[in-house]
Subunit: 137 residues, 2 copies
DNA sequence: TCAATATATTAGAATGATTCTAAAGTGTTT
DNA sequence: AAACACTTTAGAATCATTCTAATATATTGA
């Protein structure tokens, strides 16, 4: 099974038609060893440089939003003018280097269990995320 | 010592001139019992309704940025199209209700100490923030 | 207190990320 | 292949935030 077939199935199983644009974006986003942290701008540059493809702005946004809604990628909570996404959709946390704007993952196992002493009756916990801001010394 | 004098001193001690606009904003932001979570839009509405004042957009942004730089307020890391600020500048964390967009503080003491098993050599930790996303059931 | 200087405020324009529009194109189903 | 549904596109629209440069206010020093 080559990647294309794999990605076609992935898209279909989420109810998304496997179009040329979506398959190309899958290649960039998911055919890699390490987690990819990106903004829309980063992604457009990669599409251009690596695949020499131009996908319109609107399609990139539509597709990323579709992927987000289907749980293929997730949005990262940072205060930044741009929105950051992450191809790692497992429960995990981030180091954010405020000097370089670099983001680094760390997993649940890299932190001792987070135990809340406060809870909100009638509410359901959806996620617990830790953001560690660091700077170069 | 009335509030105005208090706020004048607060501003001066941070190297900010106590102007009419800044004093009015201090009243709204700091003369309250509970933490205030707000966006620029929220703040403008309150200035308008409570004090019947119009401060220009640019001044509101300039002043909020000055207050942020002086550590009077802090920015909250959320993914939202708008930037959220918090008048509670102590180390603390947030519940974010994704159903209602409501933000609730919880303090360091409301969570067991967060112990990282991973660290980044050559980097200095600036803050550790927890964001707990909840929804109405 | 007054003039000189430095800093702040303002309206409106500019910028930049994201979303919308509606027309043309592609994928799916029969 | 026809009919239908969904997708892509360029460009316009929107919205938060920042910039501009003119005017106003605060501070300093004589």
């Amino acid at each position: 099974m080559n990647n294309n077939t794999h990605f076609e199935e992935k898209l279909r199983s989420a109810g998304l038609r496997p179009t040329k644009q979506r398959l190309k974006m899958c290649e960039i986003l998911f055919h890699r060893k390490k987690t990819f942290h990106f903004t829309i701008e980063d992604l457009r540059k990669v599409l251009k440089k690596k695949l020499d493809i131009k996908i319109s702005q609107a399609t990139i946004y539509n597709t990323i939003n579709a992927f987000k809604n289907k749980g293929y990628i997730k949005e990262i909570s940072l205060n930044s003018d741009k929105t950051y996404f992450d191809t790692n959709v497992t429960n995990h946390h981030h180091f954010y280097n405020v000097t370089t704007n670099e983001l680094i993952d760390f997993h649940d196992k890299d932190v001792e269990e987070i135990k809340l002493r406060k809870n909100l009756p009638g509410k359901k916990i959806r996620s617990i995320e830790v953001l560690v801001k660091v700077s170069n010394k």
